[in-house]
């Protein structure tokens, strides 16, 4: 029994152990349950939100998007006002946006200028395994690789790209490597006249010189980061601090929001008004959902319609409200504080009437569950999937092309784990037995503390090895990941 602890069982009101020399408490009180204040960085900026540049298409062939993309060291300000060494795609953070249309043939000439191996994972896209940028296919320092794939029909939505090398994903993303992907549908059911904004939400923690503060894994903060995921105290939108979005009274804007943070889960709200939630990871829903606030776990995306309901001259804020995703051992002290992300500034009244919004946007066909080849249970605990850590030479789940599977993902710990499957979008059937109230295409599902989520997935194409993992980057880098291998169909017997 730990002799240095003072322990009491409340029912007895008495001490079970009484030795007092409690170095324990010094140790326990010192570490940072205290969350560093963002005060030093909280200066309000009047900058309007800028959109990341769009990757230039160098192809003249219709239906082909050919782009150059490099990852390399850069001198820039990850923290506005502090130029430091960073990593960047084509020299900017966030990286340039890859804009494509359904059906496009995409060629990305990638050059790794980093001093270390990397990959690019096209998060959420349904493309061949060799093009997925998984840790199985690292691209060495100084090497080139052409990522070539076709954007599937029906996949219009918001996606993103980021590095996915073995063990170093969290580091490379903290250094600035992430960018958005927008897949457009020529027959988009939402009016093209809606002003569109892209919001890439990232957080980071900085040293006084503005470089990313990445803790020694053996320090107390390092241990907390491994547990919580590295959560930054500085919240950025498209790399900007507290930017402004101008909106006209009466106008409706379409926002695409991506959470590229390593671990932070946002609970987005504009206090005083509701939001129309129209889509998530795999694009639009069948119908809009009116919500007060909405959770956006790391690596998830959403589409919102934001209505300018206030008079000219007024302001509103997009906030992230408190959300307790944490284990009690490492829950930051200030978890229960709402934080502003950006301001909405009402400039004037819209001269145009807002276009009518469709009540039904599209059909999301349910995956047929009459022939399910496998029902699987995946147990998420802290850093482990089914009690194991990642082994690059092991296949954890084997399946076949054409199989429909139901995965029951059970989180057995007191901490949320956003679960991501590469390559295949799935549909959520139920959470703790409660049927999902709407149907959508997902590639990440946040499995809450002690929650069980069932998803259905169909492996309709692309044999090969695919990752599935917790998208808290520190968990992923420490091995909370497994490999799914989809094998080609069995050869038919000749009669």
């Amino acid at each position: 029994m730990p002799r240095q602890l003072r322990v009491v069982r409340k029912s007895l009101g008495l001490t079970l152990l009484t030795l007092l020399a409690s170095s324990a408490f010094l140790r326990a009180s010192a570490p940072a349950r205290h969350w560093p204040s963002a005060g030093r960085f909280a200066g309000v900026s009047a900058d309007t939100l800028t959109m990341p540049v769009v990757l230039k298409n160098i192809s003249t062939v219709p239906g082909t998007v050919e782009v150059n993309l490099s990852a390399g060291p850069a001198r820039l300000a990850l923290l506005p006002g502090h130029v430091t060494n960073a990593y960047a795609y084509n020299g900017s953070v966030p990286g340039p946006t890859l804009e494509v249309h359904e059906g496009d043939h995409v060629i990305i000439h990638f050059h790794n200028d980093l001093p270390e191996p990397t990959t690019i994972h096209w998060h959420g896209l349904h493309i061949p395994a060799a093009m997925d940028g998984s840790p199985l296919r690292p691209i060495g320092a100084g090497k080139r690789y052409d990522y070539v794939f076709t954007i599937p029909r029906g996949s219009a939505g918001t996606y993103w790209y980021h590095p996915h090398p073995d063990v170093r994903t969290g580091y490379q993303m903290a250094m600035g490597l992430f960018g958005a992907i927008i897949v457009r549908d020529p027959k988009d059911p939402l009016p093209a006249s809606l002003p569109e904004k892209l919001l890439v939400l990232s957080d980071n923690r900085f040293k006084p010189d503005g470089s990313p503060d990445i803790s020694d894994p053996n320090s107390t903060q390092g241990e907390i980061d491994q547990e919580n995921g590295r959560e930054g105290n500085v919240l950025l939108v498209n790399g900007q601090l507290s930017p402004v979005i101008n909106i006209r009274s009466g106008e409706t804007q379409r926002w695409r929001v991506i959470n590229v943070s390593a671990a932070r889960i946002y609970r987005l709200a504009i206090p005083g008004q509701t939001l129309l939630h129209v889509g998530d990871d795999g694009g639009l829903f069948e119908r809009p959902r009116e919500v007060n606030d909405i959770l956006l776990a790391n690596s998830e995306r959403l589409e919102l319609l934001v209505r300018g309901t206030r008079p000219p001259g007024s302001r509103a804020s997009l906030q992230t409200l408190p959300y307790d995703r944490y284990d009690p051992h490492t829950r930051p002290e200030s978890w229960d504080v709402a934080r502003d992300l950006l301001s909405l500034r009402y400039v004037d009244a819209s001269s145009q009437p807002s276009p009518a919004l469709p009540s039904r946007m599209r059909t999301v066909v349910p995956i047929d569950t009459t022939h399910v080849l496998h029902h699987r249970v995946l147990v998420l605990s802290q850093g482990l999937i089914n009690g194991r850590t990642m082994d690059m030479n092991r296949v954890d789940i084997r399946s076949r092309l054409g199989a429909t599977e139901i995965w029951q993902i059970e989180n057995v710990v007191t901490m949320d784990h956003p679960f991501h499957l590469h390559g295949f979008q799935f549909q959520i059937l139920d959470r703790d037995g409660v049927p999902e109230p709407y149907r959508s295409w997902k590639d990440v599902v946040n499995v809450r503390k002690h929650q069980t989520v069932r998803v259905v997935v169909r492996f309709d194409d692309f044999p090969g090895k695919w990752m599935f993992h917790c998208h808290i980057l520190d968990h992923e880098d420490h091995g909370m990941m497994g490999i799914l291998e989809i094998q080609p169909p069995r050869p038919r017997r000749k009669s």
Binding site: M1, P2, R3, Q4, L5, R6, V7, V8, R9, K10, S11, L12, L14, T15, L16, L17, T18, S22, S23, A24, F25, R27, A28, S29, P31, A32, R33, P217, T220, E223, I224, Q226, E227, D327, P328, H329, T330, V379, S381, Q382, G383, L384, N386, G387, R388, T389, E410, V412, V413, T414, H450, T452
Partner: protein, 225 residues
Amino acid sequence: MTISSSIRFRHLIWLAPLGAVLALAAFGPASSSRGVDPGARAQLMLGRSLVLNHDCGGCHGGADPGAPGWLAGMTRPEQEFLIGPCAFNTSAKPCFHTRPRNLTPDNATGLGRFSERQIFNALRFGLRPEDTPDVSITSMTQGKGNFPLHPHYLAPPMPWPGWRYMSDAELRAVAAYLKRGLKPVANKVPDSEGPPDFWASEYTVDKIGRYPAPAFPTTNEMEPK
């Protein structure tokens, strides 16, 4: 009431001679269930005896194996522990509430999703099953022989530092009884709190001694005359 009298008498049962336990296991009632490997049943019976004479139920629920809530974890707030200065002064900090968890094999709320090896590792090394890979641990050095680099320990006052000296066979028997000898009971116990190092600074060799124990006789001991 004095502090020493606060240790509940039932904890004295920890001192029950192991020999008696082994005898119980060896000569317990024969299996009445058909088709069960008698060796497997004997293992469960050994595990049951160890669970009884180590008073697992004293904290983890149930007065006896026939009582409701047997080993299903705490059910009332007053059954939790306060660890830290708040044991004496309720407003003192830090103050960690630790809670005896559900030891029945319920998947959602108990040990159902942990392997017998993970339970063994919890009893032998104090490692939280949900934070520790399901592997054989062959070293007591952090980062070696599958011992975690950053071990996460069970919350106090779980007395694993003493109980780890049980033999492999005994600890396996306890794990077997919990996983295969109990019916699952759904009882969600809120997770224990603790410092961010998951008590690692408490469970150092200096504080809890060596495993395995040094060979007999040490300087404090002598061969019987």
